[in-house]
């Protein structure tokens, strides 16, 4: 395990912050926690390179704003955003703003550990494109026009019902298309699909 790999946690909920820190610490990461985005921002330039885990919904400065400010200062931290239920549109925005992954709360510990590992890998080889994302570009061509439309709807953060309405098809049909899109793109989760699709250059509506 990466004894000198740094992980920074920004979350306004003390219990979530502390527990995640304990978990990552138990897994051998060097962890530092911040209760406010501003605190992390203030400390960021002096911090060793590491992975940032930020809650997307926080008072004062949210995860998206934090990403923007970091970019402004040319500070680069591979970022994972944590979202609550039904925050897909926010998550997509975070991904477009450069976040590597988003994870929906409540999450399985393994999901966040995998994501952190991937982010730290990225830190070591920043210019290397995510291999599964590269593959996704090729897979994109496998999608039918209708599947492509459904994918774009998903990237816009729309629920199935809205996509169905926009495309004048039944929600059931959208669900079938959605499953095919996931299969064809080789994505195991919505966040992976969003990541692949963005990497493959799919534009959202």
């Amino acid at each position: 395990m990466p004894g000198n790999a740094h992980v920074y946690i920004v979350d306004d909920d003390a219990a979530v912050r502390d527990s995640l820190s304990v978990l990552l610490d138990a897994c051998g990461y060097q962890v530092r926690t911040f209760g406010l985005a501003q605190e992390f921002l203030d400390a960021a330039s002096a911090l060793p390179p590491g992975c940032l885990i930020a809650d997307i919904r926080m008072p004062e400065m949210d995860g998206l704003e934090l990403q923007r400010r970091l970019k402004e200062r040319s500070l680069s931290f591979p970022t994972i955003v944590i979202t609550g239920h039904g925050d897909v549109p926010l998550a997509v925005r975070a991904m477009k703003a450069g976040a590597l992954d988003f994870i929906e709360k409540p999450y399985a510990s393994q999901a966040i550990l995998n994501s952190v590992a991937a982010a730290l890998l990225r830190l070591r080889a920043p210019d290397e494109r995510d291999p599964s994302a590269v593959a996704a570009t090729a897979k994109l061509d496998l999608l039918s026009p209708r599947e492509r439309e459904v994918l774009e709807g998903l990237l816009a953060g729309l629920p199935n019902k809205s996509i169905a309405y926009d495309l004048a098809i039944s929600p059931r049909t959208v669900e079938i298309h959605r499953a095919r899109v996931m299969d064809k793109m080789g994505a195991r989760s919505l966040s992976e699909l969003v990541r692949f699709a963005l990497a493959a250059g799919v534009r959202t509506k």
Binding site: L20, L23, S109
Partner: protein, 510 residues
């Protein structure tokens, strides 16, 4: 006139009495001879026609008539004297009179025949019916106006007699129910109702007739109607009552709640009125907040426990370290429990107000409300409500929320199937009252069955998975149970059980 007459007859006490009577009469009295010449008139004649007695006596009575009566009168008289054929004498007729100023007015004329010595004389009594005619015309106009209103109002209007026979059926009712008025008028109004209302309606009428107990008159309710094609629909019914000499009648005003013309605003008004929409949305927001509030401690619990497991698997951690993590996890689990407790408190105590209620009525209204907009989905609804159900002590709004929720779920579950049958029934079972909502949908997947009432578990594409868990909370707070089972032949039955007798509020809802 009378004075003159008296003078001619030679005077006397009987004459002055006669004169007083004649002059007191409100009606005009004109006496003519066989030639049609006026012999005498009373004071009312003077008032009515505007002639003085001197201008009339000795002149032909046809001066009091407009054409063509004036020209024809002499020959009428001659004809009568020759043939004895009575056209007016002893009969009375509505004719026209003519005043001195030339104006014409409607009058009722009755004529009697008498003898003055050998000569026949005729007594005409004349009543001005101008006012009555005006009133009649006004009445006719009013009736026409009402008819045109009744024919154009969007509400269907149905008038029935005390026995339920339909007296009138408006064009809007024809459109709404699909029957022509001719098919309905004269028949019992229950033909417009689905079971069990159909069977119960005569009893309602009979009970009202004997006890005067009002269940719907002057109150208005949401009930279910039945079209000619057998389809059912939710409708708002207001009933008025009126007594006429020929008996009591009831007027029903029916508004189709599924009708597209019914604007969204009206439906919203109605829902707000019943507090459903507002409460449900409060509930929805509440649920969303709760989801977030629960996510935090649950995430923390997972993290602490995972960390603990990790440390234990390496064998490097001190037991105190592990114990510390366990302690933290417990604290967070308790925090989640606190959130749940608050939710339960909100649901079961918050604004709850228990009242003695007729469960059938709650079910009917919730059903009608739930079916708004479901008309196109072709759901066949049957109600099997036990009419002898004892009352229950419940928060009506909460119970309606539950029923509404179950019905909506049922309708949604049947979206993808051909046969859409929704059966809702109530029945007393021992010390409890059972309400069941059965659908013919695909049923509940076995892997979900054990977790269906848990929060965040849903079978829907877009759902929070909180509806059923809240429903169960509500029912359990009422000391009842909410369970489900497969429906024989396909589908699901949700069974809601409430205690028959009232119980005290629990001292501790947690």
């Amino acid at each position: 006139m009378a004075t003159q007459y008296a003078r001619e007859r030679g005077g006397g006490q009987s004459d002055s009495l006669y004169r007083a009577v004649v002059d007191t009469a409100v009606d005009a009295i004109v006496i003519i001879d066989r030639a049609g010449e006026v012999r005498s008139v009373n004071q009312a004649t003077e008032r009515l026609f505007g002639y003085t007695p001197g201008e009339l006596v000795g002149h032909n009575v046809n001066m009091l008539m407009p054409e063509p009566y004036a020209a024809e009168h002499d020959s009428y008289l001659a004809n009568y004297l020759r043939t004895g054929a009575k056209k007016i004498i002893g009969i009375g007729r509505e004719v026209a009179g003519r005043r001195k100023d030339g104006s014409v007015f409607p009058m009722e004329l009755s004529v009697g025949e008498a003898r003055d010595g050998d000569e026949p004389i005729f007594v005409g009594i004349i009543r001005d019916i101008t006012e009555r005619k005006v009133a009649e015309a006004a009445l006719r106009e009013s009736e026409l106006r009402w008819r045109s209103i009744l024919d154009t109002v969007p509400d269907a209007i149905i008038v029935i007699d005390a026995h339920g026979a339909v007296e009138s059926f408006s064009p809007a009712a024809e459109r709404l129910f699909g029957y022509a008025a001719g098919e309905v008028v004269g028949n019992n109004v229950k033909m417009l109702m689905p079971s069990p209302y159909r069977e119960a309606h005569d009893d309602y009428l009979a009970r009202f007739a004997s006890t005067g107990e009002r269940r719907i008159i002057g109150i208005g309710r949401i009930v279910v109607g039945r079209r000619k094609d057998g389809g059912t629909f939710p409708m708002q019914l207001a009933v008025g009552e009126f007594a006429s000499p020929s008996g009591n009648f009831f007027t029903g005003f029916v508004r189709d709640l599924t009708e597209r013309q019914v604007s969204e605003r009206r439906i919203e008004d109605l829902q707000t009125e019943l507090l459903h929409a507002s409460r449900l949305s409060v509930m929805g927001q509440m649920a969303s907040t709760m989801a977030h509030e629960l996510n935090q401690p649950l995430t923390a619990v997972t993290n602490y426990l995972e960390a603990g497991r990790h440390l234990m698997s390496t064998g490097a951690a001190a037991p105190e370290r592990i114990a510390d993590l366990m302690e933290k996890a417990v604290t967070q689990a308790q925090r989640a429990g606190e959130v749940i407790r608050q939710l339960r408190q909100f649901v079961s105590k918050g604004e709850t107000e228990r009242r003695t209620q007729n469960l059938n009525q709650l079910v009917e209204e919730a059903l009608a409300l739930a079916l708004i907009g479901a008309r196109q989905s072709g759901v066949l609804v049957s109600l099997e409500l036990d009419r002898e159900l004892p009352p229950v002590l419940v928060d009506p709004v909460q119970i309606q929320q539950v029923v509404l929720n179950l019905v909506r779920n049922a309708v949604e579950a049947m979206e993808e199937v051909e046969r859409r049958e929704l059966t809702i029934s109530t029945r007393p079972v021992g010390e409890k009252i059972e309400t069941s909502v059965a659908d013919s949908g695909p049923g509940i997947a076995p892997e979900l069955a054990n977790r269906l009432f848990q929060p965040f578990v849903t079978t829907k594409k877009t759902g929070m998975g909180l509806g059923l868990s809240i429903c169960r909370e509500i029912i359990e707070a009422h000391h009842g149970h909410l369970t489900f089972s497969p429906r024989p032949g396909g589908g699901t039955i949700f069974l809601l059980t409430l205690p028959k007798t009232s119980q005290d509020e629990p001292t501790d809802a947690g």
